[in-house]
Amino acid sequence: MSMGPTTAHGGALALKPGYADNAADALRHLRPASETIDFELEHHPDPASIAQLGFWIYLMSDCLLFAGLFATYSVLHVRTAGGPTPQTLFDLPYVLAETVFLLVSSFTCGLATLAMGRRSRGATLGWLAVTFVLGLTFVGMEVHEFAHMVAENAGPDRSAFLSSFFTLVATHGLHVTCGLIWMAIMMVLVVKKGFTPSTESRLSCLSLFWHFLDIIWVGVFSLVYLFGVS
């Protein structure tokens, strides 16, 4: 039984001279690289930036979810089953108004983040409130649009086109609604706790989320509304 470890040890010893040379070579080559890594690690230890990277990865996976819905819509949008078509259904000025509300809310969300950087609690809360109202207007307009379509017998059960349309646009709308709930909670947190590291980290993630939803909406209004009508 004791023979096994001994031979293994002997084997390792026999290899040692060459191994040591190789290791020294390797270290010499590695040194510049390892210095770079140390430099980067020095600037990455704070949990907030790691949290932001994690949130970013979530956003990217959410992007893939939307990619699937976009692909479904682009395949099914011609399957109107004799029902209403994009040309007859969509009201572009109404969509433009929705788009502007969401775009301005994205901008004011950015201003809220800047105010947070200045540690100005009043300005942060003010811009967050403006963002909230604009986002709520967007969701309200979308719900109104959906209700109008369902009332016109153009609900999600009418055709494959409308099923994929409601799935895609309502998924975006649900995201915006979740963002609004998150924003309301963050406003309460800022009022109660002020700017703690965790509040700031969460606000930064919320800002990323909100800008991300605006990017998805660019895809929605281009692919669904503008392609559909043109």
């Binding site: 992007c63 399957r79 800047l114 950087g117 991300f212 990017i215 281009s222 692919l223 503008l226």
Partner: protein, 132 residues
């Protein structure tokens, strides 16, 4: 890109140190007021023009123009609002973003391509909706 990089606060090789000196606990990736204003104006323009184009007169080439404007606006949002740039701090964000962009292109392009082929190779009697 260079305008965007200048507009960032505290990025580049020495930017992180600057951020630490200010005691920012959030990575300092918030950009400046200028970058938000520039991004906002560009985004508004890139929204209004395709809408105006489609609402006034839709021609054969309009979908292509709309696609170009959409792509441009997405890039504007990413650069000016999400502040993704090529600095060392943002490397993993940029890597993840590019990877996602590739996957999105494969999903979208692949689906449209395959389903279009399926569509043109289908016999007329098999078309959904041809029964009614």
């Amino acid at each position: 890109m260079s305008v965007a990089n200048e507009a960032m606060t505290g990025h580049g090789p020495h930017g992180a140190i600057h951020g630490d000196a200010r005691g920012s606990a959030h990575g300092g990736t918030h950009g400046s007021r200028k970058s938000y204003f520039v991004g906002f104006l560009l985004a508004i323009a890139l929204t209004i023009v395709p809408f105006g184009l489609v609402m006034t007169h839709a021609s054969i080439g309009t979908p292509l123009i709309v696609a170009v404007f959409a792509l441009a606006q997405i890039i504007v949002h990413v650069v000016y609002f999400l502040h993704v740039d090529r600095s060392a701090e943002q490397r993993w964000n940029l890597t993840a973003l590019l990877f996602t962009a590739i996957i999105v292109c494969i999903i979208l392009g692949g689906s449209i391509w395959i389903m279009h082929n399926l569509y043109i190779n289908m016999m007329p009697g098999m078309m959904p909706g041809s029964m009614g």
